[in-house]
Symmetry: C2
Subunit: 483 residues, 2 copies
Amino acid sequence: MTVENFLTALRAAVGAGNVWTDLSDLAPLLQDWRGDVKGEALAAVFPQSCEEVSAVLRIAAEAKRPIVPQGGNTGLSYGATARDAATGIVLGLRRMRMVREIDRASNIVTVEAGLTLAELHEEVARVERQMPLRLGSEGTAQIGGLVSTNAGGTGALRYGPMRDLVAGVEVVLPDGRIFSDLAGLKKNNTGYDLKHLFIGAEGTLGVVTAAALRLHPLVRSSASAWLAFDALPTAVEILMRLQERFDSAVQAVELLNADQVAFALQHVPRTRLPFDQVPAWSLMIELGSSDPASDLKGALEEWLITLVEDDLVSDGFLSQSVAQAEDIWHVRHSVSEANRIAGHSLSHDVAVRPSRVPELIERAGEAVRTIHPEARILIVSHLGDGNVHFIAHFDHAAWASFEDPERITGEVMDRVHDVTASLGGTFSAEHGIGRKLVRSLAERTAPERLSLMREVKRMLDPENRMNPGALFSAEAKSTDPLA
Amino acid sequence: MTVENFLTALRAAVGAGNVWTDLSDLAPLLQDWRGDVKGEALAAVFPQSCEEVSAVLRIAAEAKRPIVPQGGNTGLSYGATARDAATGIVLGLRRMRMVREIDRASNIVTVEAGLTLAELHEEVARVERQMPLRLGSEGTAQIGGLVSTNAGGTGALRYGPMRDLVAGVEVVLPDGRIFSDLAGLKKNNTGYDLKHLFIGAEGTLGVVTAAALRLHPLVRSSASAWLAFDALPTAVEILMRLQERFDSAVQAVELLNADQVAFALQHVPRTRLPFDQVPAWSLMIELGSSDPASDLKGALEEWLITLVEDDLVSDGFLSQSVAQAEDIWHVRHSVSEANRIAGHSLSHDVAVRPSRVPELIERAGEAVRTIHPEARILIVSHLGDGNVHFIAHFDHAAWASFEDPERITGEVMDRVHDVTASLGGTFSAEHGIGRKLVRSLAERTAPERLSLMREVKRMLDPENRMNPGALFSAEAKSTDPLA
């Protein structure tokens, strides 16, 4: 099929105005969120329904052209950047924005892929429910992308990542078939649960066009605290006692080291330290309950006293007001800005089991200091998830002095990922693989798992046309696309 | 490979004493839990390690012989009954019983497939944790089987079914490859999450040899209540208010109709009704908390008063002691025994969204009464999960008078399943497909989903040797095993 016939067929399928070919229109869609990399494509296509997506995929199948599905384009791993799709299309979901149904009694909302997360939050707040996925880019990130990347965020400790919030999906397969599984049942044992293949598949197996998502009751009371302590392993002991006592009321457990807290205090306005000096280690804790009358603050205070009595913490600050709670979390949320102002961050998105977080931090720190004694190690960890954003930080002058910053980045990354692997951890906890970590996936995945993943890819997308170059290398395309 | 060579190779792999061929030894393994159906096999084989399972599967692959994996053999759908494996083996996991690791701080336990659920409960209770899967057969049911059938049970409302409790699996594939994914991380976005293919696959894609399971804090205080009300739709309103107020503290919400409660009171000793007369509808509720000092009873009482004020319930009984709570749950747990004593149950394991449970019960009741006005409709529903055990009950005389009880069973089942399907529900919520519901699966599954399931089966087990006859019909074996 010629390029012209291909475009004509697409225009017939979705309407001429919804097939963009002008380079200036395409430019923002071909660039990743951070502006690091650029892609190429013939066109961007915006279908309005699952049936139109199916038509587009059938046309692309006939034309044997690649497709890069794109949601809000907020990913951090270049998963929606069409770097190996110069002869194909970017498929945008922004015209599919319907809230198909809110089933309040069953706590299920069914929405189309192009709705933003912030819009979804508004919709369900109107019926006094929450969909507890929360992240910085929620004004732009779309549901389909969040499903396809199994997004994490701050609600993951209590409610799980996106995977745990998806009760069903509607997916268009590479050949145009529609797989619809939106029943949204809590129990269903009728064969293989196929939705999990598509959650977190980063658009390599099909296009998610809608999802049935689980809702939860609103949180109507909360309490926050900031604990200070000297020895890192204590963090795990505190986490255990916290979960034993408060169970699912635990909403956030964030671990920061002294340098990270100091950076936030130094560089970001209105940051306040509730202690005389910056503690060696800080744990910021939030509890929540659906009961507006629950005395979480009192309970947290009592529990905190037992920690002091047992010498687990050197100091603790319990928020007495909403403003004081906001003060605690403002420090936590200032770290990215502080680190950017202060220099260059080599940030890692690794995870191990919570019990191994202290060892990970110690050993990765040693490994990096060995090659870069000038680097400052900054720690921001979602401790309850075992997720550690381990940051090797360089001041502006040091970073500018490097002749080959890409090599430095790779060397540091390899050391941190080696330590993580030796502790049974993962090199990508939240952010996925995209096109950024393809080499790591190929090198660090157990051969049996990798070959199974390839078999799945071959089963659903034998021509490797769905988001080529994501997850798997697109380089060997001419021989076996997935070898 | 001759039968003798096959058996010799198996004996070499697992030791002669662990290959049984004596018919009297095999008999209990070839019969289902309820004694309804019988299977056939050459032998039963009991490997002691994942490597031995792998060796057995390689031998069977070479010999092109079928394999039926079997756990505690407590399934209700004949999933472990070797009806199409006369030339093959039953693979028992009972010698693989190790607790490989308890990671208390990370709340993960790693166990082998042959451990019973009751043994697991004991092990984790010792470190003050719970693995909240609970069911009647837990003294016999094994972890591998519970993973492979995605078991439900009474903990599912709060903690989800087995799928939600599995953090990782170790599986031997039909060709003997070992897929090990026991890292047990809360966050890991490195490609397809393949474990979900094997959870609930009923042994048709491989043999689960170990699992990493999520632990939860102990429940240290609880409160139970029995609510009485007249109109079925009220149940959904009460459920909503309960979840809004108590969120994840809600542990059980069981709905029973008057006839079902009356049967329990009539036929089972020590059952007590806390009201003057049997209510039209009963909801039995349990709350739980990890906080030993939490005043759940007080909170439940306050909440109950608002229900009475709003005329949602006609009466309510709040347990004031452990003994009174046990009285409530004794009635609930007596229903199977009562129904067996009173006659013959045609029981259905259907589920819809909770919001649709009243309509399901009304319409399925009408559908059955049309063909069997003499049947008594008994309702036992895990309302919070949308799971309804809809029972058409016949007294002994009526049932004995039927010339073709199998036809009666099929007719009633089809009517109930038709109503369920029209409400977007499932015909098998907890008990799976096994060999019992193969026809229903073929007829009631959307064609796109069914063909995807077959593609997955073909990908992993192209010769249809893993548990043949389960999920998919084994009849067309000679041409295309999965057509």
